[in-house]
């Protein structure tokens, strides 16, 4: 069981630790609800502020990620309403369904993330560079493609390929872990 925070400094430190542990999985959760990383980043910032403000209400008996997901889901919904006309946005009913299921499956989310971290370590240098370029903040893949002089299609293809390999690696290592 987590120790009850006493002082404000303790509390901060405790929060930061919990938050950074859950952050990757939380971001994945938000990404499953929103169509772009820009929107996800904004929601993550809002969420972290809300979580921090409400940290005193957090029940240390429950998993932190689960609590964080509830807050993030609310923030994601607000974002969705602002971008309702973005054609890649999912309908609200589907968001609710996805969020419900994900909140129930936070364990598997963390297991998958853990497996993926190991897959990423094994990623060859060139593919690592490809990922870094394609996902660099503030630029769209189209812009990246334009700058490098390759077609967006070939960039998307290369990214899809890496995605496929990581997916396979993840599935394999999860199978090995849980036969």
């Amino acid at each position: 069981m987590n120790p009850t925070p006493r002082t404000s400094a303790d509390s901060d430190e405790h929060f930061v630790r919990l938050f950074s542990q859950s952050e990757p999985s939380l971001r994945a959760f938000v990404r499953s609800l929103l169509p772009s990383w820009e929107q996800v980043d904004e929601v993550m910032q809002e969420t972290s502020l809300v979580l921090w403000r409400k940290f005193s209400q957090y029940d240390p008996e429950t998993p932190f990620l689960r609590w964080a997901c509830v807050v993030a889901r609310f923030e994601a919904l607000k974002m969705r309403r602002r971008h309702a006309r973005d054609r890649h946005v999912f309908d609200e009913d589907l968001l609710a369904l996805l969020a419900d299921e994900a909140e129930e499956n936070t364990d598997s989310l963390e297991r998958q993330r853990h497996a993926l971290d190991r897959c990423l370590e094994k990623l060859p240098d060139r593919q690592r560079r490809l990922v870094c370029a394609a996902y660099s903040d503030g630029v769209t893949m189209k812009e990246v493609a334009a700058r490098t002089g390759c077609t967006p299609t070939s960039l998307y293809k290369a990214v899809n390929r890496v995605r496929g390999q990581l997916l396979e690696c993840m599935q394999r290592s999860l199978q090995e872990a849980h036969p």
Binding site: F15, V16, E23, P24, R27, A28, R31, S32, S36, W37, Q45, S48, L49, L51, W52, R87, F90, D91, L94, L98, E101, A102, R113, L116, D117, L123, P124, D125, R126, R128, R129, L130, C132, A133, A134, Y135, S136, D137, G138, T140, E143, R147, T148, C150, T151, P152, T153, S154, L155, Y156, A158, V159, R161, V162, R163, Q165, L166, L167, M170, Q171
Partner: protein, 517 residues
Amino acid sequence: MSPDELQPLIEAHLNQTASDDQTARLQDLLRANPEARRIYRQYICVESAMHDLASAESGLAAVHPTTIPTHTARYRPWMAWAAALALLASIAGTWFYQQKPASPSVSGPGIAVLTRLVDVQWKPGETPLQAGSTLGPGRIAIAGGLAQLEFLSGALVVLEGPAELELVSPERAVCKEGRLRSNVPPQAHGFTVAIPGMDVVDLGTEFALSVAPGSDHQVHVLSGEVRLQPATGAPASLYAGQALLLSKTAPPSTIPADPSAFAGPAEIATRARDRRGILRERWEQERSRINSLPGLLAYYDFERGESWSRILSNRLKSPNAEKLDGAVIGCEWVAGRFPGKGALEFKRTSDRVRVDIPGQFQSLTFSAWVRIEGWDRWLSSLLLTDVFGTGSVHWQLSDKGELILGVRSKRLENHFSPPVISPRDLGRWVHLATTINQQSKLVTHYLDGRTVGQTPVDQVVPLQIGPAEIGNWRPARNQSQEHFRSLNGRIDELALFSRALAPSEIHALYENGLPQN
């Protein structure tokens, strides 16, 4: 739901390239199917991991609640540029790090030109390549037949299937399986083919080799000298008339070289001639298939008439077929996609074919086999109506490699594809198609049977062609300099349909019309 349907939808969603229809379909699948949601969550997890990797490596601070600045410096141009430069290298190099190298990329630096293909069957899962393609780094894997590669260093290689060759650089290839004969002019001295266990370095010769995985390998020197550089150990020389036998079961030994055991460029030429009849027959079958497709409006097969013939015949079997014949002005009859197939060459600014296609249409399909030689000006005509009035259509190409369908409705609507015809596609036969469907209100562009762009139709109008030109433009009113839109290239087939063909139908036109084998 099939995973085959789900995966591309998820990929498009993640890349933010999904169309409205794709987003709708993805949502339907996710709503209906818990398995689809499970797979979607896995993809999201991968996507997040990739994103986090990029953030971590670019040194961007993770969102950190106690240190949240009032404004985050999210966009750092220098970082994007550095990443972009790294990307160039990684796209070209991605192939080498996969267990199975992918087919030679069509972007990336060129290594060799695939000049001839005879009887080639591709290994399962391989994307068929076309003669005339410039190949980047990657693998060429054939199950049978002969392929001729001309490396940019000057080395000429004939590959005999079953074979797998990995192109590394203009000076280096790796033979994993199969028989290969190489002609190396003095300019390409040092051209190296790696086989299991050693490099075969050419010193200006003709040599051949065979690699049988799990069995024997052989290196034959047909003229000149070859240096053998084993992975471990000292190099050795092999001279004309000698061959090296590398056996699994015995120590290496030399045997007499046997030039007749390996097919070379001459063999390719002979076999290509033998294939002519078969190609012809296959194409005639395809021609009658096209002729039976519903909605065919006009069909020009560019069969070479007499050299003096100035008529481009419409092959559509209909009572008034000859009214749709084209009048050839200037163009020369030349060779088409395969030996024996006719084509018209559009070279001078005056070269053109005039047609007159009456009628009004709700939807249209344009399909053509074209060999573009270069971009002479901003716009190159495929089919342009003289008059550009309400409902008129202009099918053309831009010098950036975009397919464009212009439609005049209340205002001018130009439907651009992304730039898809790259400089490396110049000089090879490509299949171009564009459909306009005014029921679904979509214009779709295709290159080599694949969708390359789609744009919505804003204003629906009855479409018409009327007096028009293939490969050029004679504007009814002289507006500006832009009226020079002559094509620089060859056309050897053009079909028009009064409906929008489905993607599968366009793909069949490409697949059946492919100029090889």
